[in-house]
Symmetry: C2
Subunit: 82 residues, 2 copies
């Protein structure tokens, strides 16, 4: 398992409810790929969304995000953290 | 207080010790600007570092990062989180 930060762009206008619904949709199927989405942060003005996850691979993260309708624009491994 | 995600680029080769030292340097003076750095994540291969903070403004975040020698390339407010 590794940690990943993924980035979604173009989400201008996202609401707290929409972020929660998207996160819940990911959580509902994440175990099918061995992924766990830990947190997500969003800025409705810039349209940026960041998601922090633990997963076996970036492809596993992307498969969950694609199935729930919000493909990530970037997925970065984050092997170091404090 | 608001939450911010800041991004540092070009940190290729950063080690766990260097990330910890940079984070400790920020923590040592953060209260002078009313900032709290909650977490940081780094990828030595891509050179990306993300820092999550609570702060009164993006300028306050940048002032701490500048004084500790690692100016952020981007600082994004993150008003929504799950």
């Amino acid at each position: 398992m590794a940690r990943f930060m993924d980035v979604h762009r173009g989400m201008q206008g996202i609401t707290a409810d929409q972020l929660m619904e998207a996160h819940k949709a990911d959580l509902a199927i994440e175990n099918e790929e061995g992924v766990h989405f830990e947190h997500a942060w969003a800025d409705p003005e810039s349209g940026l969304v960041y998601c922090l996850s633990e997963a076996p691979s970036p492809e596993a993260v992307q498969r969950i995000h694609e199935r729930t309708g919000h493909r990530a624009d970037e997925i970065h491994p984050m092997p170091l953290s404090v």
